[in-house]
């Protein structure tokens, strides 16, 4: 992997170069004070030293609401959607890992056409991150899962091209790079913490912490909305007056009681059941990704939870108890 040094003063020019590859989006702060990924018109809008956005970048791949198809006179048709080319700039490694997980889900067998079309038009540029108290990812400096990566060092950034598109960016920005000593081991610059893989049995354990969490959780679902790897969706159909109509899908939430409903019953009627359900799928995976942890340690769920539930509490206690 080729590495070059980008002086901090060259950042604005670098952003202009990135625009060659699509509409530039990056972390910014709204008038209401919310950190969010949004179009970056001027470099001053960029908050490159942000901690985390409220809504993760999954919104670029799985819009909150999306048309699956339309129908008319007995025929069903896919939407003729041509997603724009977008460069997502300054993604943290946890969010990149989140996208990599969604790729496993949506680009696997039976590739999801809407997701695939948007994914193909997305260029991902990552940046190293300074973890705060909420973070527990394992590698805040991982260059994996992106096209190009910037590691923050004194006075600027070390640029690495990861994919062919990253090489194209490197070529386009060649004039902006300067010669500098590139540290050999970048990983040591930003050490992570991480959470060990969990045992599926934990979900059914009688650990009193489950009940404690269930007693305070208000089923608001915020932790799942803001999770970069929560992807479950609902499908609805809306007829139009002309006899046709559309079928859409939109984000769903396993914290809502309706999620576990079946023929007149509910397999997860209590909050305790639903907490454990989400836990099982975050930390122990799902068919066909059983065994793969989809929690990337971004810390959003703890940061947004109105009652301060922190599952790490359970892992440390139960993890110790459960180990053989």
């Amino acid at each position: 992997m080729e590495k070059s040094f980008l002086e901090a003063t060259q950042l604005s020019s670098f952003l202009e170069t990135l625009r060659l590859f699509g509409e530039l989006h990056g972390p910014t702060v709204t008038d209401a004070g919310v950190t969010t990924f949004a179009p970056i018109a001027a470099p001053s809008q960029l908050r490159i030293d942000y901690r985390r956005t409220q809504i993760p970048p999954k919104k670029y791949l799985l819009p909150f609401r999306e048309q699956l198809l339309s129908y008319r006179e007995g025929r069903y048709a896919e939407p003729a959607e041509a997603p724009p080319a977008i460069v997502l700039f300054a993604l943290h490694p946890c969010d990149l890992a989140g996208i990599a997980y969604l790729d496993l889900v949506f680009l696997g067998e039976n590739t999801d056409p809407g997701y695939a079309a948007r994914r193909a038009r997305l260029t991902l540029v990552g940046i190293s991150c300074e973890p705060d108290d909420f973070c527990f990812c394992s590698a805040p400096n991982s260059e994996a899962n992106c096209d190009a990566f910037l590691t923050t060092i004194k006075g600027g950034y070390i640029f690495s091209a990861v994919t062919a598109r990253g090489e194209e960016i490197a070529a386009a920005a060649a004039d902006l790079f300067s010669a500098a000593d590139v540290p050999q081991s970048l990983a040591a610059l930003h050490p992570g913490t991480g959470v060990a893989p969990q045992d599926p049995e934990l979900r059914f354990s009688d650990n009193p912490l489950w009940q404690k969490f269930a007693d305070t959780c208000v089923s608001c679902g915020a932790c799942s909305v803001c999770c970069p790897t929560c992807y479950c969706f609902d499908v609805r159909e809306y007829p139009a007056l002309n006899g046709g109509g559309v079928r859409i899908r939109e984000w769903d939430n396993c914290f809502f009681a309706s999620h576990g409903e079946v023929a007149g019953a509910n397999f997860r009627p209590t909050r305790l059941d639903r907490l454990r359900y989400r836990f099982l799928h975050k930390y122990c995976g799902f068919t066909p990704l059983q065994g793969i942890t989809s929690c990337v340690g971004c810390g959003r769920c703890k940061a947004v939870c109105p009652v301060g539930i922190d599952l790490r509490e359970l892992f440390s206690v139960a993890g110790g108890e459960m180990s053989p």
């Binding site: 699956l68 198809l69 129908y71 006179e73 007995g74 025929r75 069903y76 048709a77 896919e78 889900v105 949506f106 039976n110 590739t111 999801d112 056409p113 599926p200 059914f204 992807y231 479950c232 969706f233 609902d234 499908v235 609805r236 159909e237 007829p239 046709g244 109509g245 079928r247 899908r249 769903d252 396993c254 999620h259 576990g260 409903e261 079946v262 023929a263 019953a265 397999f267 997860r268 059941d273 359900y277 099982l280 799928h281 122990c284 995976g285 799902f286 068919t287 066909p288 059983q290």
Partner: protein, 282 residues
């Protein structure tokens, strides 16, 4: 147009051919999918399901009541319970519908060959088991003894009653019917009064060799599994067809989760042994 992978969200067009009322709230629908759908639908294995679209209402998973006929037409036995099924019941022959599938795993037909098969159906559970039964009877020489035990709440709710009786009369299968209660006994014979597990209790069969296929309302499963195991049927040979709300049918929306499994791709047919440690399965 170039060869392109078909969007799995996109239903094939289909038309309602005819419908027969079976009971107050259940009807048999014959539907004809467009020709382009036939190669895919011809791969249907008993126990798999299709997603039926009713324009204006949405989609529901249905296990066809028989394999597609020579003309590709499918028979669906559907109970009117809610939003989509209600609108389906209002459709007249000729109405446009949609179909996706088949989805799910189906019964392991290869593995079951040469073995006796015991089918246990409760209520509407007869619908998916009927396609299994028809398949077994069409390939009668490939299977051991075939037995159908079918329980309904009362005689008038018993689906396919005449058809089943006629099939049994050909001597190719054993048939045991039971009703929870019989309000009027006007000439109804060959039908026990009691629950399905009661039928099983007095039944003598080669349990260790038998494959059992069970489909019915959730409470039925728990007691039947226990009884079957006690009779000597291995948990790996007790096949249960489970029902969940389904949206995508292809393992994405997570609505049909059963523990770490998804009903739409790992099921809907599960072995009792697989479900033992999943509290929310049954």
């Amino acid at each position: 147009m170039s060869e392109r992978v078909r969007d799995m969200h996109l239903p094939f067009a289909a038309r309602l051919l005819e419908r027969h009322e079976l009971t107050e709230d259940t009807a048999l629908f014959r539907i004809a999918p467009e020709e382009a759908a036939l190669p895919q639908l011809s791969r249907f294995v008993p126990g798999q399901f299709v997603q039926i679209s009713v324009p204006g209402a949405g989609e529901v998973p249905i296990s066809p009541a028989d394999l597609p006929g020579g003309d590709g037409a499918l028979e669906l036995c559907v109970r009117r319970v809610g939003h989509v099924t209600e609108l389906l019941h209002q459709q007249l022959p000729g109405a446009p519908l949609g179909i996706r599938g088949p989805f799910g795993n189906g019964f392991p037909m290869e593995e079951m060959s040469d073995h006796p098969v015991l089918l246990l159906a409760g209520g509407l559970g007869i619908a998916p088991l009927r396609s299994l039964l028809m398949h077994l009877l069409r390939h009668r020489d490939r299977f051991g003894e075939i037995t159908l035990m079918y329980g309904a709440r009362q005689p008038k709710l018993m689906l396919f009653r005449e058809e089943m009786a006629a099939l049994a009369a050909r001597g190719e299968m054993r048939l045991y019917l039971t009703v929870d209660f019989a309000p009027e006994t006007n000439g109804i014979q060959s039908c026990a009064v009691g629950l399905l597990p009661d039928l099983l209790k007095g039944f003598r069969f080669d349990a260790p060799a038998t494959y059992a296929a069970v489909c019915g309302p959730p409470p039925l499963y728990r007691c039947l599994i226990a009884d079957l195991e006690q009779a000597g049927v291995a948990p790996g040979r007790i096949m249960l067809s489970l029902e969940r709300r389904m949206r995508c049918g292809v393992g994405r929306c997570c609505h049909c989760a059963i523990g770490q499994k998804l009903c739409c791709v790992d099921g809907p047919v599960f072995r009792a042994g697989e479900l033992k440690d999943i509290p929310e399965a049954l």
